[in-house]
Symmetry: C2
Subunit: 495 residues, 2 copies
């Protein structure tokens, strides 16, 4: 539990009633201007105070020459002026009673000796009563607070269950952009850069406490308070998954980190211990982070590691079996009874009633597909079903094969995974291949996206490749297993 | 060198003047029918003889009750009838003077004891004078021969430099579908399944000899003639890259292989030795295979491992440095002089003139981008430049940021990588992120595809993520290094 005072402090960053944007300029592509225009376009409802030394009007708002000139005070200051000017601007904010500031500007510890001493100045001012996110960051995005400080792009206005903290400006921007089309919505996002005052441990503590946040995404390059961070990750992991990408663990990566956020990268061996002790879900790319998030948002807690793969053709079935073993999932043999039932449903030629189940063709009749999935879902050997290379859209099928598909009801066909999932309470994961990439085939892409959105809206995780589906499922299963073990331990120790 | 007789034998599969399609049926989605309709839609110019025991008319062609009834003979028979009927159909073909047959049907060694003895029968008939591809396969696709036997989908009609052989039917279909939108065109494709007669070694020998084939893609689950195959891969690798995916090396994968193509999967340790001895480029997924192919099609032979990364923001720069080290590439520091020149071009804040070079914003002015790339391309420390997270399209930028972009000439902007590449003869690789995935944002996707096609048409490899770009480049560089070493060895030993 964190104190009410601390929650109020964070509130200024995520739910400010007024924002001073310091460093707005005539160049509308400069960061200060982008902040202001993004807030307006996002529909921020609070007071906005643009600040520019020469005054002027920006996006319909009159600028104040200095933060000292704004009426009353502001809950939050967003500052984008050259680094050497930051300390005096912060002092002005402090004098004005502003208690929270996002320092966007770069040019601090990541840029050498001079920057480091500048950062010390910032820290000293912060200690006098103004908390700082940054420098060298983008700040916060909080749909329920009605604000987005990620400059430029406009992100979703709806709230969701995912909290994201990233020691980078661009990273949350890219995650938020990709997420928008994948049905992932955010509770709170923070880009915190060099972390001179508020750091990774503080943000995680806040997201752990935040009731709206169910899944936490973390991108870090280094840590300021390693021990405290480990403790918080460990504690948080018991109730919420912490999906964490630690970048910059190679020699080349470390060098890049030091000029990006000025952090110390740390060693692989230390981080390996961190992951094994903390219970965090370890990912190594943006795709992997997003894929895992989709699994955590949609899969039921009781989902185990025993996969049945249902494939409309054999090549991917072999690759899928390889991937299951590689990622620590199992693909158990089906019982004789189940196999017999499947054999009676499948074509005699080219199909396989063994797991991975091969339906021989990628366009099985709706009734056959339903029956096959039902037989497998009823099997006690299986925890989750992955469906791949099966056309779940008549339109997609006819676009690829250039012919009218067998007569089927489209709605009935696309609903097969939903119906089976509901009936048996067993998770189904769909792989919708992104294999049609011609410029002329945008219609196929549109159809694929529609299908994807439909499944995601109905609790069915969707992935573009089988490998990615299996990897995401494995992350989910491993986390659940770990958490269950922990709960059992706790119960036993309380006997 | 393979004999003229053998080349003629392969010619019947890739350049047949007439094809008997045996097993056409009233169900237009049955394989026999799909073969016939695909050949017609592809525009096959030779004679087509559909065969159906009850005669009838299919897609405007009259069917013959048996292959014995077709006029004269045919260069090739494509047979899709139930497995037990295959031997007698093959005998009929033999009697009719047909010397080449694709046996599509499954139900042979991959399906148990009975299938195995059926396969022996097929092999015995083959020895009497009819060569067989299959069983349990799709057959051949050869644009310059005017035919595609990959049933259903219609693939590109233009020829290209890539030869593909796959022990699977679906695999080449998926590769060909994805390739179409990526500018990859094929010389010859063969799906060969259980390989009871012609096997992996035969096909590779043919592709190695084929003048139109410059890059060879291989998907295998097992081998029939391991020693011979190794020798041919080794010999071929000296002149053409052999990009090879061996699937089914885990225990689960092996089990899946045995019911897919009936092959013996082999052990990881054996295959590790195979790769180190053969010089084949080892890949582990369809994406990796295609990504590597793009690198081999577009990069110049002198491209070395020293990468400069130019990024419009820092998070990906760190991940890129990690990936370079992981994949064995280097990211050397730039000389003081180069750094100075870059510093004078880059914004003072948020940028980095070190490698990875961070341009601070993803929409640098055209002139600045050109100058930065030119300074780096002129550097003797650098072999290849990767550009990421930089908007090379005004339209894409305005779609993401929802505002009119700074005034620039679109053509001039998108031509920057081309101009620099031409001027300095140094490869440039572009990462065009696929991060906008909303259904409403299809326009962005269309714009991205146009840009991608433009670059690919002008010898600039394009990838959807930085990781994939780096991995593909690493495959290319490693292959070139190996080949150069080998050439030096050969020269030395001939002294």
């Amino acid at each position: 539990m964190i104190s009410a005072e601390k929650m109020a402090m964070f509130g200024r960053f995520f739910y400010p009633r007024s924002v001073a944007v310091i460093g707005v300029s005539a160049n509308e592509w400069a960061f200060g201007s982008l902040y202001l225009s993004t807030l307006i376009r996002f529909g921020y409802k609070g007071k906005l105070y643009p600040v520019n030394p020469r005054g002027g009007e920006f996006f319909g708002l009159s600028a104040y020459p200095s933060v000292k000139d704004i009426p009353n005070s502001a809950d939050l200051a967003v500052i984008s002026v050259p680094a050497p000017a930051i300390p005096s601007v912060l002092e002005d904010c402090l004098a004005k009673g502003i208690k929270a500031a996002v320092v966007v500007s770069a040019g601090f510890s990541e840029s050498g000796e001079e920057g480091r001493s500048l950062e010390e100045e910032v820290v000293n001012i912060a200690r006098k009563g103004i908390r700082v996110i940054g420098p060298n960051c983008f700040g916060t995005y909080c749909p329920s607070g009605g604000l987005s400080l990620l400059p430029g792009s406009v992100f979703a206005r709806e709230s969701g269950a995912v909290g994201l903290m990233a020691q980078s400006g661009q990273f949350p921007e890219m995650v938020a952009l990709q997420s928008r089309g994948l049905g992932i919505r955010f509770s709170k996002v923070v880009s915190y850069g060099d972390a001179c005052d508020l750091n990774e441990a503080d943000f995680l503590e806040y997201l752990a406490e935040d009731a709206a946040t169910k899944v936490i995404q973390v991108y870090i390059e280094g840590v300021r308070e390693g021990r405290r961070f480990l403790d918080i990750v460990r504690r948080t992991s018991r109730t919420k998954p912490v999906i964490l990408w630690k970048a910059g663990l190679t020699q080349l990566g470390k060098t890049a980190v030091s000029s990006h956020t000025g952090s110390l990268g740390g060693e692989e061996i230390t981080w390996k211990a961190f992951f094994s002790q903390s219970g965090a879900v370890r990912v190594n790319s943006l795709e992997e982070l997003i894929d895992a998030t989709i699994a955590f948002l949609h899969l039921p807690p009781n989902c185990g590691p025993r996969v049945a793969l249902v494939s409309g053709g054999g090549a991917g079935a072999v690759a899928g079996a390889d991937a299951c073993e590689y990622w620590g999932l199992s693909m158990p043999p089906l019982s004789g009874e189940t196999r017999q039932k499947l054999s009676s449903l499948l074509p005699q030629i080219g199909a396989s009633a063994r797991n991975p189940v091969d339906m021989a063709i990628p366009f099985p009749p709706t009734q056959r597909l339903t029956s096959v999935l039902e037989v497998i879902a009823a099997s006690e050997q299986i925890d989750a079903i992955i469906v791949r290379r099966i056309f779940l859209s008549q339109k997609g099928l006819s676009l690829v094969f250039g012919r009218n598909p067998p007569e089927e009801d489209q709605r009935e066909l696309m609903d097969v995974p939903l119906v089976v999932k509901e009936k048996f309470g067993k998770p189904i994961i769909v792989v919708l291949c992104e294999e049609i990439t011609d410029i002329e085939m945008l219609e196929f892409e549109a159809d694929r996206r529609e299908l994807r959105d439909y499944y995601l809206a109905h609790g069915i995780p969707v992935y573009p490749t089988l490998d990615r589906a299996i990897r995401a499922l494995a992350h989910f299963v491993k986390y659940q297993e770990q958490r269950n073990r922990l709960e059992t331990d706790l119960k036993l120790s309380s006997l």
